[in-house]
């Protein structure tokens, strides 16, 4: 039997680290969703280990793409063929799973984005500017404060009879509003529902800027698991929202799709280092370069003591010697 050709997509985000394997037909074979917990390298290693356990060492991986805010780091560690920003990967993933999609709502750990698709290409996009209110990490924090597991947070909102009004423009104001409403005796369900509505209101103001959002609307990213937010979106927009099957790993899925396309086009062998990353001891060292008064914060990544990659300098003094990972990302 001919061995399947697989493509790996990795999305290292602020809250979660996701890995996705697709086959040559762009079908999802494996997916891993783990919490980054502030340690991107550890999370990535754990993710790779899980993939290896499921597939065995000799899996035929033909290409790797990385995305998310930790895409440079992940790219350096695994040997990525392509490093792509998360807007492009999310847009590609949504179009694969929901053909004809016109509006993509995405809320992740620290970013929220809206992507408008016209004629099959990204027509416009926006990312949150002012504050991380309404993103996954804020919801996490509020769930922890109220002592409710984040998985159940949304179902509380659905039980609400009369949601209270919470200020959603700023995370600090939202929190103090919630505390105040709690102290005046409002039910926790009503407060959570009010919070969901506030965050959706803020999202639509800040990102959609009052534009009409055309059907089909897809909602993805970790926060799409929150049924309270989904309900608030449907109420505010007055339309049905599609949650794609792999909503929580869409970035990684898109990265895998891009990697596959690139490798098919180029016909070259992958830059993937294999699963040896699982056993390597990675160290990230940051140092302040004193070469000039820019005092750049340089990051050096080493694997078992061997320098692997370097970035953060403006002049190129440090990056020049190390493996140049910028070639795949463009910057």
């Amino acid at each position: 039997m001919k061995e399947r050709e697989l493509y790996l997509g990795i999305d290292v985000g602020s809250v979660s680290t996701n890995l996705v394997l697709i086959d040559e037909n762009e079908k999802l074979v494996e997916k891993v969703y783990i919490r980054t917990s502030g340690q991107p390298i550890e999370a990535l290693k754990r993710g790779l280990k899980m993939i290896r356990e499921r597939l065995g060492d000799d899996a035929n991986i033909r290409g790797v793409g990385t995305t998310g805010s930790g895409r440079q780091l992940a790219g350096a560690i695994v040997g990525a063929d392509i490093i792509k920003n998360e807007i492009t990967t999310h847009a590609i993933a949504a179009q694969k799973l929901v053909p004809g999609v016109k509006t993509i709502l995405e809320i992740g750990g620290q970013d929220s984005k809206i992507i408008i698709i016209r004629n099959g290409v990204v027509f416009d996009f926006a990312m949150n500017t002012v504050c991380a209110a309404g993103t996954g990490s804020f919801l996490d924090r509020q769930a922890a404060r109220l002592n409710i597991p984040i998985e159940e947070f949304g179902t509380y909102a659905l039980k609400s009879r009369s949601p209270v009004r919470i200020a959603g423009r700023c995370a600090v104001f939202a929190e103090s509003d919630m505390i105040h409403k709690q102290q005046t005796g409002h039910a926790v369900e009503d407060i959570i529902c009010g919070l969901c509505e506030a965050l959706v209101r803020n999202y639509l103001n800040n990102l959609a800027k009052g534009e009409t959002l055309e059907d089909p609307v897809v909602f993805q990213g970790g926060v799409a698991a929150n049924v309270g937010i989904v309900a608030a979106f449907e109420k505010a927009l007055g339309k049905k929202i599609i949650i794609p099957e792999h909503y929580d790993v869409m970035g990684a899925f898109g990265a895998a799709v891009i990697a596959r396309e690139k490798m098919m086009r180029s016909g070259k062998p992958t830059a993937f280092y294999g699963f040896r990353a699982v056993n390597c001891d990675y160290r990230a060292k940051s140092l302040e370069c004193n070469g000039c008064s820019n005092m750049c914060e340089v990051i050096q990544i080493s694997a078992d003591g061997e320098p692997l990659a370097c970035w953060g300098d403006r002049c190129g003094k440090w990056t020049a010697g190390a493996i140049h990972i910028e070639r795949q990302s463009g910057f």
Binding site: I87, D111, N294, M295, S329
Partner: protein, 330 residues
């Protein structure tokens, strides 16, 4: 010994330096310019400036400190207006006072007011005032002004032909990566002190140029075109920069060779908060040209900035390829 005049490399530096330099040198003075913005300059500026000021003003403070003990005079003109019936940001008008009252032990400041709101003739008065502080005779000042205006016009011509002000001023001839893709024409709108200070804008221009982008900045658009376009607005622009930005935005609508527009604004800028919105509305409602606003502030984390810039270029290329009917991406 020649008198040494210090010119901080901040705010309107990249707009007027060739004029100022020629003027002072014609009057027999020597010029000292502060170094390129770096973290030390930024840190010094942030520490010494009032908190509410925008980043470019804070950076300017850093440049003043960089020069303070190296020069006989600091040249910090009180710029009230640089064009007829228009103002610039009020912080420029108060700049010499802000500097004087926040920083101590500075050399004397040449803080001549430049106010061309009512008449361009005020420029001569301003030049005379500067000259008198350096004990120069009136004839020499007149001659120096004429020469410096000539130098300024030459500089403007070079910019209009597509040279970037910092490249002209620093006599740099940047070696750029060979274009690996179709060259995109990207128009960048923003204040000179945000566009050309590559520390403040996190090397945005270099990143763009290295990604097969032909840069067109707002300063490269002909002044006559801008004026003509700005006159079609139903209300006269109050700000000098507002007219430039709006005129340019309207000009984009007339052209079909612009692949995308980037508006760079600094966080907390009063002028930008109005103008960016107006420009955005004009471009989005009247055209399909991809548009993005990039906000810059003190943070040195480039991830968010790069993500937006990268995604914007992806979007422009993707759309272009789609139009050219070669469907692919990445």
């Amino acid at each position: 010994m020649k008198t040494k005049i210090g010119i901080p490399r901040g705010l309107f530096f990249y707009q007027y330096y060739p004029l100022w330099k020629t003027f002072f040198e014609e009057l027999g003075a020597e010029i000292a310019v502060s170094g390129h913005t770096n973290r030390r300059i930024l840190d010094m500026g942030v520490k010494s400036c009032v908190d509410e000021a925008c980043l470019p003003v804070k950076v300017f403070f850093g440049h003043v400190l960089d020069l303070a003990d190296k020069v006989d005079y600091l040249f910090i003109p009180r710029l009230t207006s640089v064009s007829r019936k228009e103002y610039i940001c009020p912080k420029f008008g108060g700049l010499p006072d802000m500097v004087r009252h926040s920083l101590y032990g500075l050399p004397p400041i040449i803080d001549t007011e430049i106010n061309l709101r009512k008449s361009g003739k005020n420029l001569l008065n301003a030049a005379m005032d500067v000259g008198s502080r350096l004990n120069c005779d009136k004839k020499a000042v007149r001659r120096a002004l004429e020469k410096s205006l000539r130098a300024y016009r030459e500089f403007r011509e070079q910019v209009k032909k597509g040279a970037l002000p910092p490249d002209i001023i620093d006599k740099r001839f940047p070696v750029l990566k060979k274009p690996s893709d179709r060259i995109l024409n990207i128009l960048v709108i923003g204040h000179v002190y945000n566009l050309y200070d590559n520390y403040i804008n996190m090397d945005m221009l270099k990143k763009l140029r290295n990604n097969s982008v032909n840069l067109i900045t707002v300063d490269m658009i002909d002044g006559c075109i801008i004026d003509e376009k700005a006159q079609t607005l139903n209300k006269k622009m109050f700000w000098y920069f507002g007219r430039k930005a709006m005129g340019t935005a309207l000009h984009v609508l007339d052209r079909n060779d612009i692949d995308g527009v980037i508006y760079v604004m600094s966080f907390g800028c009063g002028v930008d908060s109005f103008i960016s919105d107006l420009v955005e509305k004009k471009i989005r409602r009247k055209s399909d040209v991809p548009f993005i606003i990039l906000t810059i502030d003190e943070h040195s984390g480039e991830a968010g900035f790069n993500t937006r810039l990268e995604a914007f270029l992806d979007m422009v290329r993707w759309r272009y390829r789609h139009e050219a009917d070669v469907s692919s991406h990445g």
